[in-house]
Amino acid sequence: MGKIKIGIYDFTDCEGCQVKLVALKEKLLVLEKRVDIINWRLGQDNNSSGPFDISIIEGTPITKNEIDLLKELREKSKILIGLGSCATLGGIPGIMDKSEREKWYKKIYGENYKPRGIDALPLSAYVKIDFLIHGCPIDENELIRIIEDLLAGKKPKYRGYSVCFECKQANNPCLLLEGKPCLGPIIQGGCGAICIKGGSSCYGCFGLRKGAEVKNLIKVLEKNLSKEEIERHFSMFLNKVNKYE
C-alpha cells in the first residue's frame, strides 16, 4: 500500500492556519515521512491535481473559481477536512453580510469594478465536509490529535467539553461574572481558552458545541449588554453559522 496522499488547499483567508502548520517544524518532517503531500501551493512547486485520500482546505470559498474547485475537490477526495474558522464557520470575512457587499465594492473599488467575491460562507454551505478543525487560528495540539486519528483510520471526535470548562481549569477569572461578554459556555473546547488567558474575550472561533444552551447564555448576557452588543459579539465568527449548520 502506498502512502496516504494529502492535498492542502487555501481559499480566501489570511493563511494563518497554514502558518501554524509550518510552525509544527520537526513534526512536519515526521508527518512528511508518513504521508505524501502531493499538493500544497504555499509549501512546494511540484503539485498534482489528485485524487487525494485526504484534502485539507483552509479559507472561505468566496469566488466562483473557489466554489468550483471546492466541488471538484469533494469529488476527488475520500475525506475532506476544513482547516480554521474561515473554512469551518465563514470566519472573520463572514462578518460581512452578502447584502452589504455591493455597497462596499463601490465605496472601496469604485463604480466600475467587477467584483469576484460572492459571499463569505463556510465550506459546508456547498459540499459535505467530513471533519472541521476549528480555530482562528487552529491549535497545534488539536491539529496533531486530529491528523493522528485520521492516519490511524479512525474518525476524529470533537471535544466533549466547552471553552468555559477549559477556562476554569486554567484558573482564569470569569468574564461573565465581571459582566463582560464571553461565549465560552456554548463554544466547543480544544483551544485551552487561550484568548481569555491572554485577557481577551471568547468570540467563539471553535464553533458552537452540540447541545449548546445559546438561549440561556443570551439571558445572562442581557443583564449587562444591549441586544445590539450581544448580536455584534456573536457575529465575530458565527454570523454565517446558524444558516448553514
Partner: protein
C-alpha cells in the same frame, strides 16, 4: 504562461506575459474580504482583534498599526513599557515572517529544491538554524502578544497582561543562544549569486512620523513626507485584472520592505554588498534584517529587565479627535491604518468605528513587481521562454508579496 497560481507566495496570483511587447501583468485573484467595510460598526476595542486576520503571516503588524490608529484617535500616549513591549513584538514579527519567507518560500529557488523541508537533506545545519529562528520568534510573539499568530494580550492603551521578568530572562537566554543561527542564516544567504537585474524604483520606509524615499540608483538623495499625508504620498489605483489595488510613490513605482529599509536606515554592516537597483537583493536584505531584529530584541529585553515595568493601561483623553492614523513597518514594508470613531460611546462597549482605511505594503510593491518583471525580460538575453518564466516567478517570490494583505 499557464494559469496556475504562483506556488510558494502568500495568496493567489499569476503572471500573464506578452512576449512581443515584453509586458508582464500580475493578476491577483484573491477574493475580496472588504475589511474596510466589515470594520464599520465594530467597537474600537475589536479593531486590533479583527485586523490581524487580514494576514496570518504578519498579524502582529496589523495589530500594532490598529492600536496606534486607535490611540491616536483617542488621544492616548502609551507608557514606555508598552512602547518597549510593542517594539519587541515587532522584532518577533520581522523574524517570524522573514524566516518563513526565506527558508520555506524563496531559498528553495536558489538551492534547486522543491520545498523548505528538503533543506533538511540538502543542508541539515541550515535547516536546524531556520527552525531555531522560527521557534524563538514564535516565542517572542507568544510571551508578549499571547500567541504566535493573532495576538490576545494587547489592548488600547497598553496590554491586558505583561510578561514576567522571569519569562523575559528566559527569552533573552534563548535569543543569546540563537544569535549564532541568525548569523548562519545570513552567511548562507550572503553566498547566493542573485540573478542580474537593474530597475529604477523609489525605495520607501517609515522613520518616526515621516515616510523617507530614496531612488534605487541614488540612495543618498532623501525625500521626506509626513506619515499623516500618507494618502497623498501613496496613490492607489484599481486595475481590472486584480482584486488588489496598485500603489505608487507620487506617481513612481515604489519598493517597500527589507531592501528599502536598509537603503533608508543604512543600519547594516557594509561588508555585505547590496545592490539596491536589483530587487532580488531583497532576500539578502531579509537575512540581514533577521540578525538586526534578533539583536534589537535582546537590547529591548535588557532594557525591560533593567526597568521598573509599568503595567498601567492608559485611558482615553478628555478631548479626543476620534480620527487616527497608525503606521508601522511590517515585514514587507510600511503599513497604514486610518480610523474614525463615533462620538457617543456606550458604557460597556465604548466607541464604534464609522470609517476605516488600510494601505498594506504589498499594494505599494505590486506596481514595481510589474516594472521589475518587464525590465527582467528586456535585460535578460539568451534565455528560453521556460527559463525566463522561472526567473520571473523567482522575482515575484523575491519580493515576498503578501497577496492576502494586498486584497484585504
Amino acid at each position: 504562461m499557464n494559469n496556475e497560481f504562483i506556488a510558494k507566495i502568500e495568496g493567489h496570483g499569476n503572471l500573464t506575459i506578452d512576449w512581443k511587447k515584453n509586458q508582464v501583468k500580475l493578476n491577483i485573484h484573491e477574493g475580496e474580504r472588504l475589511f474596510e467595510g466589515l470594520l464599520v460598526g465594530r467597537t474600537a476595542e475589536e479593531m486590533h482583534w479583527i485586523t490581524p486576520r487580514i494576514c496570518g503571516v504578519c498579524p502582529i503588524a496589523h495589530n500594532l498599526a490598529s492600536l496606534a490608529a486607535l490611540e491616536d484617535a483617542l488621544g492616548i500616549k502609551i507608557n514606555n513599557t508598552t512602547v518597549l513591549l510593542r517594539n519587541l513584538m515587532q522584532c518577533g514579527q520581522m523574524i517570524q515572517s522573514h524566516v518563513l519567507h526565506l527558508f520555506f518560500l524563496s531559498l528553495p529557488d536558489y538551492l534547486g529544491i522543491d520545498r523548505g523541508t528538503e533543506l533538511f537533506k540538502k543542508n541539515p545545519k541550515a535547516f536546524k538554524s531556520a527552525l531555531a529562528l522560527k521557534e524563538v520568534s514564535d516565542e517572542i510573539a507568544e510571551i508578549i502578544a499571547g500567541r504566535s499568530v493573532h495576538p490576545t494580550r494587547t489592548r488600547i492603551g497598553g496590554f491586558h497582561k505583561i510578561p514576567t521578568k522571569i519569562s523575559l530572562k528566559k527569552l533573552l537566554d534563548k535569543l543569546e543562544e540563537t544569535e549564532k543561527d541568525a548569523k548562519k542564516a545570513l552567511e548562507l544567504v550572503s553566498k547566493i549569486n542573485f540573478p542580474e537585474l537593474k530597475v529604477k524604483l523609489q525605495l520607501a520606509a517609515q522613520n518616526d512620523d515621516k515616510i523617507i524615499a530614496v531612488s534605487s540608483n541614488n540612495i543618498e538623495g532623501r525625500k521626506e513626507s509626513l506619515i499623516r499625508d500618507y494618502k497623498e504620498v501613496i496613490e492607489e489605483e484599481v486595475r481590472d485584472y486584480s482584486t488588489a489595488k496598485f500603489g505608487k510613490y507620487k506617481g513612481e513605482e515604489m519598493l517597500v520592505g527589507s531592501l528599502a529599509r536598509l537603503a533608508v536606515y543604512k543600519n547594516y554592516d557594509e561588508k555585505y554588498k547590496i545592490d539596491f537597483e536589483n530587487p532580488f537583493y531583497n532576500n539578502l536584505a531579509q537575512a540581514i534584517e533577521i540578525l538586526i531584529y534578533h539583536q534589537k530584541a535582546q537590547k529591548i529585553i535588557k532594557e525591560l529587565l533593567d526597568s521598573e515595568m509599568d503595567k498601567k493601561v492608559i485611558e482615553p483623553s478628555k478631548n479626543v479627535s476620534l480620527r487616527g492614523i497608525g503606521a508601522t513597518e511590517a515585514p514587507r514594508g510600511g503599513l497604514y491604518h486610518e480610523i474614525v470613531l463615533n462620538n457617543n460611546p456606550s458604557a460597556s462597549s465604548g466607541q464604534v468605528i464609522t470609517e476605516a482605511n488600510i494601505i498594506t505594503p504589498t499594494v505599494q510593491n505590486l506596481t514595481s513587481i510589474e516594472k521589475s518583471a518587464q525590465n527582467l525580460l528586456e535585460q535578460t538575453k539568451n534565455h528560453s521562454k521556460k527559463e525566463l518564466e522561472r526567473l520571473l516567478v523567482m522575482l515575484v517570490r523575491a519580493y515576498d508579496p503578501c497577496i492576502t494583505c494586498s486584497v484585504h
